[in-house]
Each structure stands twice: as C-alpha cells, then as structure tokens.
C-alpha cells in the first residue's frame, strides 16, 4: 500500500465564528501502480485533502501514512515521496519548459537524473515547438503541460495531478492520458484530482466522489455506477426551451446542462424512449438524441447535485 488516509478531518475558520468543514472523516487507500480518481465539484475539499497528503496542511483529526510512515511526523519525507502538479498554473517567468523540467528532475534525482526521459516526455506530448520558449510567452495549455512534465520527470512513488488536462487541447489530452498510464507500469501510483468526470472514467482504476468534504462513494468505476442504479440514459440536444417539452412518465430523473437534456430510465423502457425521442425530433423539439448505459457522470451528478432534478 502506498497511501493510507484514515479519518482525516480538516476545519477552517470561516467569517465570524462560523467554521468550514473542508474534509470530514475521509478514509481511503491507494495501492501500488493504481490510478485513483478524486472527483468533486469546485470547493468540495479535494485540494485541501491533497495538501494534507503532502504535509503542507496538518489535519485536525485522523492520520495519513505514506509507505507506512506518518506524514504528520515527517512532512519533508512526504514531499520526496510525492511529486505534484498543482491546480494553479506554475508561473515559469523567464524559464523555458526544458530548463524548468530538467531542474526539477535534477532537484529530485540528483546525479541519477536521466535527460533522455525529458526528450521522451516532450516527444510523447508533442511539445517540441515550446521547449526552448520563455514560460511567460507560452499559452496556458503549453504551461500546463510543462507543469505536468515537472511532476512526472522523476515521479515519486505517488504522483498527484490536480486538473492536469485544463487548458490542454484534445489531441494532446490523449497523449497525456497515455503518459499517465505508462507511469503506472513502473509501479508509480497516481491521484487524479478532477471535475472532468467523463475523461476520468476512462483513465482511473478506482474513484472516490467527494462532496462538501465527505466521500460519498468509492470503488471501481463500475461499482460506483452500480451504486446509483442500473439505468439507461437518453441524451437530447434541445432545439427549443425545455418547458415546451412534455417529460414522459417513464423518466426516472432529468437533468439539463445548457441545451443538453439527460433523462434516466429503466432499461425496460428503451423501446418507448426511442419512440418518444423520434417524435421529438419530428416535431422539431430536439436536433438529435443518443441512448447509452448510465455513465459515471450520471452517478456523479446524482450524488452531488444539490438541485435535484425534476422527477416524475
């Protein structure tokens, strides 16, 4: 076991005498070579949790062990076991990505630093055009990738990536996931902090959904989906306002995101649903539709959404 988080609670003082419980009795473990997704909305307490694992914050209650040693007792050890890509951009100033990545590599590995790995990473992420440009002149995506390389050039036993794909273009995102996958082949474990649930579903081995400081559920993506229900979902691209559509009575729940309408249903209702969706298209209410088994995003939304969803 690489990481063992037991009953961690962290409370911050709020305005006046109020308190904000950022982490509430959080318990989970991470094994060697595992990618663990930490999903949650903004302000759910993900970054607070990460900072405690790194020893940058001290939990009010509970214990965190890295490789069997308590982080509370040796925070410096935590920083050498873990390498981190922070959520905020790393301001590189006049440093080029190549300089920044190789210096962090040397800082972590000393004489054992292997410059070939830098070339390999830059090649894998197609970063050649940026490697010798000053950081302050780079686009957000390029800087994000540079920060990613800084975290994985000499990966610790645990690599923590906080929203690594923000600002990164779709093509390089795919390269990025491949690099993350490759990391685990040599036994490195990864914590992936994100609210981009769709991408995370494909990448992670296990996942925890965290909301208002509590872990709501954790397990493999299949287990997490199963914890909600064995439902199907119909996704419609609306052409008109939602109120002009009559929600059919087989809908178990609905959820709207911009012009996309999601309806969940029992698998036995699939024929009726297709029939209904066709009628909506013919009437010009919606542009197109798709039907799929429920995703981890459905589970996530159902578990974390405060404004629950119109049900029939």
């Amino acid at each position: 076991m690489i990481l063992d988080v037991q009953g961690v609670t962290k409370v911050f003082p709020g305005p006046g005498k109020s308190k904000k419980i950022a982490n509430d009795n959080i318990t989970f473990t991470i094994n060697e070579g595992e990618i663990f997704g930490l999903l949650g909305q903004n302000g759910a307490g993900k970054t607070t949790l990460v900072n405690q694992i790194l020893g940058l914050l001290t939990p009010d209650r509970g214990d965190i062990q890295l490789l069997g040693k308590s982080v509370l007792q040796s925070p410096t050890l935590a920083r050498s076991i873990c390498s981190v890509q922070p959520q905020s951009q790393v301001p590189l100033g006049f440093l080029t990505p190549k300089q920044a990545v190789s210096l962090i590599g040397k800082m972590r590995a000393g004489k054992k630093y292997d410059p070939k790995r830098l070339d390999m990473l830059f090649e894998a992420l197609d970063m050649g055009e940026w490697e010798n440009k000053e950081g302050q002149k780079l686009s957000g995506g390029a800087r994000r990738l540079a920060a990613f390389c800084m975290a994985v050039i000499v990966p610790g036993k645990l690599v923590i990536l906080d929203e690594p794909t923000n600002d990164v273009d779709p093509v390089r995102r795919r390269y990025l996931w491949q690099v993350i996958r490759d990391l685990t082949n040599d036994g490195t474990s990864v914590i992936l902090v994100t609210h981009n649930v769709v991408e995370a579903e494909r990448a992670v081995d296990r996942v925890a959904i965290i909301n208002e400081g509590k872990i709501l559920t954790q397990g493999t993506p299949t287990e997490v989906k199963g914890s909600v229900s064995n439902q199907m979902r119909l996704e419609l691209s609306l052409a008109k306002e939602l109120k002009e559509i009559d929600i059919p009575n087989w809908a178990l729940s609905t959820h709207q995101n911009g012009s996309r309408l999601f309806i969940s249903m029992d698998p036995s209702e699939v024929p009726a649903a297709i029939e209904w969706a066709k009628v909506q298209v013919d009437k010009g209410q919606c542009i197109d539709y798709s039907l799929s088994p429920s995703t981890i995003e459905d589970a996530y939304i159902e578990l974390t959404s405060k404004k629950e969803v119109v049900s029939s």
Binding site: C82, P86, S88, F94, L103, I104, M107
Partner: protein, 243 residues
Amino acid sequence: MNILSHYKYVFQMQFFRNSGFLVFMALIQILISIGIVIGFTYLIPNPDTKTILFLATGAPTIILIMTGLVILPQQVGTSKSDGYMEFMRTWPVKRSVILGADTILWLFITVPSIVVSAIVAHLMFSPGYDISWTVVPALLMIALTSIGVGYGFSYLLSPTTSLSISQIVVFGALMFSPVNFPMDRLPEWLQTLHEILPIYSMAEVMRASLAASTFDASIGNYINLFIWCVLGYGGAVFILNKN
C-alpha cells in the same frame, strides 16, 4: 542527496526564472544610487564635503533597504498571489535552502549599484572615502538584515499589508531616517525610535566601513543588526515550515 546540490538546483531555478527581472532591477538600482548622491546635492545649496560624504556613504544603505524591504516584499507578494509560493512549498528540499538561494540573488542585484555609485561619487566629489576591510562583512550583515526583515514581514503579512509597509519604509528611509544626514537633526522621539529600528544601525555600520577615518559604529549597532537579522530569517523560516 545533500543540501549543497539541492542548493545548486534551487538557485539555478530561481535565477533563470527571474533572469530578465534581475538585470532590469540591477540597472534601476544603479540609477537610484547615483541619483541619491547627485540628486541630494541639488536639495542642499553649497553642500560641504562632510554633507556629501554623508550622502555618498548613505546611498548604499538606501539601496540595501530598498532591495530588502521594498522590492523583495513586492516579489514575495506576487509569488504568493500567483501560486508560485505554494508550488515551491511542494519541492523536496528544505525551505531554508530556498530562502538561502533567494538571498544570494538579492545580494547580486545590489552589488553593482553600490560599486558604481561609490565610483561616481568619488570621481565627482572626492568626499573622502576611506574603505576599511570591514566593508565586506558590514555589507553582508546589512544586506542580510534588510533581506531577512523583508522576508519576515512579507511572509507573515498579507500581500496588501506588506505592500503598504514597503511604501512607508521607502519614504521613511529616505526622508525621516538618519541615513543621509546626522541623527541629531531628528526630533527626540524619532531618535529613540531609530535606536530600536535597524535602519540607523545599518547606516552607521555602512559609514564606518566606507569612511573609516571619519565615522565610527558602536557595538550596539552591530548587536541591533544581528537581532533584527535573526528575527527576520527566523520568522520567514517559521512561516515557510508552518502547516
């Protein structure tokens, strides 16, 4: 891995990250220090040699105060708000190594201005420099005090608060501190205040080493600097290590 090689890589990181800024700052410092020596002679009609010597030996102190207590806190404020400070805290090195590397960088940008302003003042006014061997330790001690105190308050306080303190310091050091003129011109309460604050001691120690035959610094001045230096760095390391 040992502290020395950590130091080397942290230093390179900070140096290359700030390289453009450092060159720019060193140039500005040169202009300011020459400006103090020449500019103040416009304020005072027919300055005598003693007055000019006060200005010429005060300029280096002003530069060190500006670097440690004005520019440095501004930089710390920026790195607090843009997330770089938080990122540095995740590095697998001791926090004192980061502080040590940064200190040398700050020292670097002050040295050219001190040397250039002394040469310019000497060529223009020959005010009677008499440089003692103590100039190197004195300069180091003053610089470390100034940088240490700058780190201490800018790590401790919010960026906005430390920015306001910087503004007061720069004005106070130029106009209301016995750096460019003798202490006895100040009202008594300010004199008492300056016995406690480090600015007067910095100026005295600097003068005593740049014009050793004209000025003396007391043991009290050295002790004062030492205490402020320890307080500043101690506070900074404490804040950096605080969870």
